[in-house]
């Protein structure tokens, strides 16, 4: 194992060296760094040219320049000695990278996580209901998302998700057509999701249509869009729904202790919602993280105390429920700060560019809202285009697993369908996905070049593209180095993870 990892690392190093040389040469022939001065009529033209030549070592041929750059880059192994050159503006590349990387991570991490969770969930469900109307619809939608150019989606989102939505928020009057449309859509979607006989689907459609239209009408009348909030009743109802859903999935509803434990955590969360309200006024990020951990702890404890014939199941179900319901309470608290935030942004809450509103100076809640409203559109764009491939992958993988002999055996020995799916099939279906996910995470730092461009995020992608358009070799090489190293590392991790998860696969020791 050790020798395999060492050999892979050695080879990866060689690959990186080769690729970096190739990239350096390509950057060198991709433009003339002196072009902006050649046409210049400034008096100090020659001096400017000489400066630039000295900065980029243009007096020596490109291969030699590469080794000068490499000499600086190799020193990165020693902490504090890193020298990746500087941009044309004179900023050291390491500084530029240290601001770009967090910005990119901010943008891409959330989007990737959401895409993975949603994609896997949808893929599994469609695999379990292969050839249903739901399956066909999801397949079509997945292909449609595959085929969307991201900048097209991004521009549409900016227009409809931000500009027109902000206009709507200024006068939140919901028209009869909108209510009817929402009613029709929910009447179409819910029967697809729930399935069943035609009679059942018809009833579902009627109920869902009426409820959908009714909820929207109520939201409009009660001015919910101006003063959003969940309130204790909605938190309790949604919380109970979550508790039942999670228990049904993880422990089965016949495990009463697990169900009671989960429901108890919902009650605890409701109490905490009021008991902690004064404390939350002066919230900080650490306090929230701490409270989140406390919520999980309380849930696990509740599960432990209720026990039951499978204590672990109760603890798992209650812990997860508690965490999710705590999230609901948090969401409610954020919503309470929404009117103040709308005022702070002069009535245009959803942002179209950048990563924060300048000079906001709000408390934790407003700046948190600011963070979300800036991320919501780029994240949506990224999720839309990347969720499709996860759906397809997990569907294919799940279908294959469901056809395996051990699934048949599990059914034959009388296990419930829930246990067959969650314990036997789902876990094994995740193994091939681990590779894909690791590979995608390796690509994360590359940033979403186009999304960053459309939404004016100053991340890695923007650094790379600006460097490229200005014939500025050092930032291009800097971003390439970071992206290359993470990609190579995560590829290695993907292979190791695969062999760890699936004992049938052995690495060549």
């Amino acid at each position: 194992m050790f020798s395999y990892v060492m050999r892979r690392l050695g080879v990866s190093l060689l690959v990186l060296l080769g690729a970096s040389f190739l990239v350096y040469m390509l950057v060198a022939v991709s433009g003339d760094p002196l072009a902006e001065f050649r046409e210049s009529t400034k008096a100090n033209k020659d001096q400017l040219i000489a400066q630039r030549v000295e900065l980029l070592h243009l007096d020596v041929p490109a291969p030699v320049r590469y080794f000068i750059w490499l000499g600086g880059a190799v020193k990165c192994v020693i902490p504090g000695q890193c020298d990746l050159g500087s941009t044309l503006a004179g900023q050291p590349v390491t500084t530029a990278l240290s601001t770009a990387i967090p910005s990119t991570l901010q943008l891409v991490t959330g989007a990737t996580l959401i895409a993975i969770v949603v994609g896997v969930a949808v893929g599994i469900v469609t695999a379990l209901r292969q050839y249903s109307a739901l399956d066909y619809t999801v397949t079509f939608v997945a292909f449609l998302f595959f085929s969307l150019p991201v900048f097209w989606v991004a521009v549409l989102l900016k227009e409809f998700g931000a500009i027109r939505f902000n206009d709507f928020l200024a006068h939140p009057v919901i028209s009869g057509t909108a209510i009817a449309a929402v009613g029709v859509v929910s009447a179409l979607v819910w029967p697809l999701l729930l399935g069943g006989s035609w009679r059942r689907r018809g009833i579902t459609a009627l109920v869902a249509g009426a409820v959908g239209a009714g909820v929207l009408y109520y939201l409009g009348v009660s001015e919910w869009f101006l003063y959003p909030g969940l309130g204790p009743v909605l938190v309790a109802l949604t919380g109970a729904g979550i508790a039942i859903g999670i228990t049904a999935l993880l422990a089965g509803l016949q495990n009463r202790q697990a169900l009671y434990a989960s429901l108890t955590t919902v009650v605890l969360a409701l109490i905490a919602m009021y008991a902690l309200a004064p404390l939350l006024e002066q919230a900080t990020l650490w306090l929230i993280v701490l409270l989140g951990l406390a919520a999980i702890g309380a849930g696990v404890l509740a599960g432990y105390l209720f026990g039951g014939y499978d204590r672990r199941q109760s603890m798992k179900a209650a812990g997860l429920t508690s965490f999710l319901v705590a999230g609901l309470v948090l969401l409610d608290r954020f919503m309470q700060s929404w009117p103040a935030y709308v005022v702070a942004t002069r009535g245009r809450p959803i942002a179209t560019i950048g990563s924060q509103t300048p000079n906001l100076n709000g408390d934790f809640w407003t700046s948190g809202l600011d963070f979300f409203t800036h991320l919501v559109l780029p994240t949506t764009a990224l999720v839309l285009i990347s969720v499709a491939s996860y759906t397809r992958y997990s569907r294919a993988s799940m279908l294959e697993v469901m056809g395996q002999d051990y699934v048949r055996t599990a059914r034959a020995k009388g296990l419930s369908e829930r246990v067959v799916v969650t314990r036997h099939a789902f876990r094994n279906a995740l193994i091939p996905l681990a590779t894909v996910v690791a590979f995608d995470i390796g690509q994360l730092l590359g940033g979403a070049v186009i999304t960053e461009n459309v939404f004016s995020f100053k991340g890695m992608g923007a650094l790379f593209v600006t460097g490229l358009t200005r014939q500025d070799p050092n930032p291009v090489m800097g971003t390439f180095l970071i992206v290359g190293i993470t990609a190579v590392t995560f590829n290695l991790l993907a292979d190791l993870a695969y062999s760890a998860l699936d004992p049938r696969v052995r690495v060549k020791a």
Partner: protein
């Protein structure tokens, strides 16, 4: 319920029937592909788009049937609003509207579609050829050939495509044909890896040993014996590559590294008109619509091909299986074949005679 496994059973029995009729592999694939409704619709749609893109504004010296070319600047009519009417159908003077200078947007979109299509085809062909060659050589010969070729593949994978676009844009202002060629020269890596994997397993099979014992040369084994077995993977992956190539081209053009003015492409049209969204939204909708149509049909064709080449993995038209099963299959097979067609949780147990 366990629809999946019975699926496989039913497919096997379908296979058996086909074998009884003595169909060749190619005929089987063709038959399965023709049974895939979505793929057939996609083929028709793509053919339609290709046809109007080629004939309307013509190629080179030939002018096509549309009255304007993509460079003409006729007078602005009615603020450049699109005149296309679906019912009753009429094209009008400018079906897709006009841009701010008055150029006919239908002609421009068609020209953009042509270029995007040419790039797509170039990328598909070139990357398929290079990828298959590299993958086949490394998978078949193994040893140092494999090491060198695969490390080279690794290097090409991590070189950013944008950079290549910038290099081509700066040095060779010759336009879209070169762009497509160069994109093809970097996008073959996934294909090479897949083909290598296929070759690695196929070369251990008995028929390869048999061919070698019969005195076949390496070239003959590769081209006559192994490659035909890998053709499914290659075809499917090529279509996927082509659909991603069309998106890549539009992205590159959008960032200014792809097709450049005065020539045009679908990505460039969107990019140059995105600021006009609130005043002239049609400048934004039409090219996007064509990108989606082309890409979507290629994806569906790829899906149909995958099903056709690899029936174990995916679906065939279930209704067709069921109908045929009821028409021409002897009685004992019917129960097993008809069962999976009634899916959605109401699958009867096999043998209950439904």
């Amino acid at each position: 319920m366990s629809t999946t496994e019975r699926m496989t059973d039913s497919l096997d029995s379908q296979e058996v029937r086909a074998d009884l009729k003595g169909m060749s592999q190619g005929a089987l694939v063709r038959k399965r592909f023709l049974g895939h409704t979505a793929a057939l619709i996609a083929v028709a749609l793509l053919a339609f788009v290709v046809l109007i893109a080629l004939t309307s504004v013509g190629i080179g010296a030939w002018h096509g049937w549309w009255k304007y070319t993509w460079q003409d600047t006729p007078k602005l009519i009615d603020g450049g609003e699109p005149t296309l009417q679906l019912f009753p159908f009429s094209l009008g003077e400018h079906p897709f509207g006009q841009d701010s200078v008055g150029r006919d947007y239908f002609a421009m979109t068609m020209r953009g579609t042509q270029i995007s299509l040419v790039i797509t085809v170039l990328v598909g062909v070139i990357s398929a050829v290079v990828g298959v060659s590299v993958g086949a050589a490394s998978g078949f010969f193994r040893g140092w050939v494999e090491s060198v070729l695969m490390r080279f593949t690794d290097i090409v994978i991590i070189v950013p495509v944008l950079l290549l676009g910038a290099v081509i844009g700066y040095n060779l202002k010759a336009g879209f044909v070169l762009l497509g060629t160069f994109l093809g020269l970097v996008l073959w890596t996934g294909m090479a890896r897949l083909v290598r994997g296929d070759f690695l397993s196929l070369r251990e099979r008995e028929f390869v040993d048999a061919a070698r014992l019969a005195g076949a040369s390496s070239g003959r084994i590769i081209f006559k014996h192994i490659l035909p077995n890998a053709v499914g993977v290659i075809t499917v992956n090529t279509t996927l590559l082509m659909s991603s190539a069309i998106l890549l081209e539009t992205s590159l053009s959008y960032l200014g590294f792809g097709v450049k003015a005065p020539d045009t492409s679908l990505g460039l049209l969107i990019s140059s008109n995105q600021a006009a969204f609130s005043t002239r939204p049609w400048l934004f909708w039409w090219p996007g619509l064509f990108i989606v149509i082309i890409c979507l049909s290629i994806n569906f064709i790829g899906d149909g091909l995958r099903d056709a080449f690899d029936p174990q993995q995916k679906k065939v038209s279930l209704r067709r299986v069921k109908e045929q099963a009821q028409v021409d299959v002897p009685a004992p097979l019917t129960a097993a074949t008809a069962a999976p067609a009634q899916d959605g949780g109401t699958t009867p147990e096999p043998g209950d005679g439904r």
